[in-house]
Symmetry: C2
Amino acid sequence: MGATKTDHFTDQQNQIAIIAKALGHPARIAIIEYLLKVNACICGDIVNELPLAQPTVSQHLKELKNAGLIKGNIEGNAICYCIDEKTFDVLKEYFSKIITTVIKQNCC
Amino acid sequence: MGATKTDHFTDQQNQIAIIAKALGHPARIAIIEYLLKVNACICGDIVNELPLAQPTVSQHLKELKNAGLIKGNIEGNAICYCIDEKTFDVLKEYFSKIITTVIKQNCC
DNA sequence: AACAATAATCGTAATATTGCAATATTAATA
DNA sequence: TATTAATATTGCAATATTACGATTATTGTT
């Protein structure tokens, strides 16, 4: 026990869950917001912006990248991270559909 | 170590993370989709729809409720669960803002 | 009141996540 | 080629999550 029963659910359900899970940590939300704030993708100082050690930040970046929420391009000895809006759009569309369906059924 | 450093982030960052985390499990996505499918909130047979035991489902429902994603009304000896679209809307608006900001900055 | 049905809670085992120190890797520069 | 800077990986301790059997409310029905 203890492990998520991934096999029992559909691919789409698992995909949405993976993306949502990646956003389910304040440090990763903070990273996303910082990438937005700098208003460009010439990054490399994310570590200095967060109250976490470098390996921890690196791990969070890895998870955001695995979920497809950010892209990372190598720029010399630094790495340029930026937001991949396609994946955010998947979530946005998914939630939009939920909201309109709920409003239609008009219950409770 | 091990525990999330909640204090170091803003309330909004934590709030978004809590909601996203609650959706970060395929069983909870499946519950949401089932609540949509039945097209009404006279539920109580969610357990039969999922490949999980009753206490496990009950726990997932509790987490969705804590995050504000569903509401639960007592209806006799059953409980009527339904989606709380307000919380979904918070997420949708948050992601919409991210997407438009990224498109504006037009990087990578 | 006894019984059945429904869902929550408790306790616990298995597994996953978080965070960091230490170390490794990679690439620019002196 | 050493040195430096930036990021990744490894290993591990602390904590959280997932899942479920057993049990406990709670409410409706007989």
